[in-house]
Amino acid sequence: MTLMHKFLGAAATVALTAGAALADPAIIFDLGGKFDKSFNEAAYGGANRWAEETGGKFQEFELQNEAQREQALRRLAEAGSNPIVMTGFAFGSTLEQVAPDYPDTKFAIVDMVVDAPNVSSVVFTEHEGSYLVGVMAAMASKSGIVGFVGGMDIPLIRRFACGYVQGVKAQNPDATVIQNMTGTTPAAWNDQVKGAELTKAQQSQGADVVYHAAGGTGIGVLQAATDLGILGIGVDSNQNHMHPGSVLTSMTKRVDNAVYEAFSAGMEMEAGIKVMNLAAGGVGYAMDEHNAALVSDDMKAAVEAAAAGIIAGDIMVHDYMSDDSCPVE
């Protein structure tokens, strides 16, 4: 029996060291799916960029359901992947439990703060980016009514909404913002049909620019906006190319940079909170050949002024998550 134990122990040690020696970074995508054209796809882009530049390999896992969350995380950690990056606030509570069990593994989480010595939390100031696209939306709107379609109704998405409303109101105090959330479950990240219906409902109430922060649901939002002949605003990734001439701009959230930097830092990754704000290039608005004709010089000047104001600290954009309320509706 003891001999058996020794053998098993030796085998386990070999297996563990072999795993540790590999130390490939890993990434876990949240339920919206790797190819949601938005948040997760941006993360995937960052991981790919790292792989191309360094020639390294990375492990990846795409969640299919809620039950896999902890399992996937533990499996990657046990397989020796290091660091492990996960995209999405929903990993927060899981990581809080898992991280202490693997003190030698570095974790990075996007969109959530987890306080542990081996976790780097990357958060973005989405309210700043949303403020900027709000300014553009208010200027592009002829009716003075603009729309917002959120994904799952969580404080993070309300932060997008709140920043957007502030931007719209700063530009046009009389403007109306119609807000809708797709749902209250993770399925709300992937319901194109509902996204399209919400957009149609907002258009029939007079909205002529609709901003979405809804992951895969947003594909339906932008499609409906194109069909109805109004303007859409993309989110997370640059979505201007999806319907050239119908997407006013995109609120870019450089999740790709966050993943790229985490992968590049590897084992040297520092724990703590990392804020990717406008000044750091973490958020912004997308300009390219697909929306050049839609953005007037006035609009460009206004949004650049607003961006400069935020960076300089002259414009304070209220963060919904700081007090769970929004000063404007």
Binding site: M181, N190, D191, Q223
Partner: protein, 321 residues
């Protein structure tokens, strides 16, 4: 709330109810023949994927329609094989098909398009566009009837009208033809039908074929009419809502129309208003979204009349013991 707003909400309700209605009628034929069809969800999903996939590959929505209906019929045939020929458990077969659909669509989608199970966005002739009925612009100025005709009745895709025609057609088939009588009888007392010299097996397979076609149309409408392309799990529980509507309608075609329209209307209202203020009492949107299920539970609990399904439902027919 003015007239135009009501029209817009009803218009949205019709769009949202159409896939439910088609799936509900599919379930109606299947269950009336004594086959529980919990696999509606899977059939919608498979049909949505194959219609969008083939439409994207060939550029023709009509080929997509054929592929979607074909996929749904294959699923129906598997269900029939398992539950009629091999006398397996119908619920298990249906659940298995649902899981199979959710896996195979993403797998094939990834192999065909490498977009993580999505299909490319469909445009132009790859999707069904709204049909403007004749004279809709001409009678627009007529008060009430004009906007009603222009906004609500006209301007839907071809499949919406098919779904609406399917209701009287189903009623006629079930209640006014010999085939319909036998089909209903097979769901109540298959032994009696067998004694009369009519094949129970053939009738049940015929019901599965009809269910396959109707459910296929629901999926096609979802992917090429309502949305422009397929995303994984895009059926989003509509198959189950259709089953709830079927119980709500007590397995009758006209009532199915009413039930699915009610569910569509509730969803449309929830889409339009985040919360409804009824003079002091605010109804949260979550309540509106849950209302179809609450209504179904109430019906099942015996309020609003008993809902009793076909007596032989779920029982495989064994000719001789």
């Amino acid at each position: 709330m003015d007239f135009l707003t009501i029209l817009q909400i009803m218009d949205s309700a019709v769009r949202l109810a159409t896939p439910l209605l088609l799936a509900c009628l599919a379930g109606l034929f299947s269950e009336r023949a004594g086959i529980f069809d919990i696999g509606l969800e899977g059939k919608i999903l498979a049909s949505a994927f194959f219609s969008a996939g083939v439409a994207a590959l060939t550029g023709s929505v009509w080929l997509g329609l054929l592929a979607g209906v074909g996929a749904s019929m294959v699923f129906s045939a598997i269900h029939g094989l398992a539950s009629i020929t091999f006398q397996g458990n119908q619920l298990i077969s249906g659940v298995a098909l649902n899981f199979f659909a959710s896996g195979i669509t993403v797998l094939v989608g990834e192999a065909w398009f490498s977009l993580g199970g999505r299909t490319p966005s469909l445009s132009g002739g790859e999707r069904f566009s709204p049909i403007e009925l004749p004279l809709s612009e001409t009678i627009m100025p007529v008060p009430v009837a004009g906007p009603l005709y222009h906004d609500l009745i006209s301007g839907h895709t071809f499949l919406v009208y098919i779904a609406l025609i399917a209701v009287p057609a189903s009623w006629f088939l079930l209640y006014r033809t010999r085939f319909g009588l036998r089909l209903r009888a097979v769901g109540e007392n298959p032994a009696a039908v067998d004694t009369a010299g009519v094949s129970v097996i053939k009738l049940r397979y015929a019901a599965m074929v009809i269910a396959g076609v109707l459910c296929g149309l629901a999926g096609v409408y979802l992917a090429t009419g309502l949305a422009a392309g397929f995303v994984k799990e895009m059926s989003a529980g509509r198959g189950y809502i259709a089953l709830a509507a079927l119980i709500f309608a007590k397995w009758r075609p006209w009532h199915a129309l009413g039930a699915t329209m009610l569910f569509g209307l509730l969803e449309a209202i929830a889409n339009r208003y985040q919360s409804i203020d009824l003079g002091g009492i605010v109804i949260p949107v979550q309540f509106m979204q849950a209302l179809p299920y609450i209504l179904t539970v109430l019906i099942l609990a015996g309020f609003g009349g008993k809902a009793i399904g076909p007596r032989a439902g779920g029982v495989p027919y064994v000719k001789e013991r």
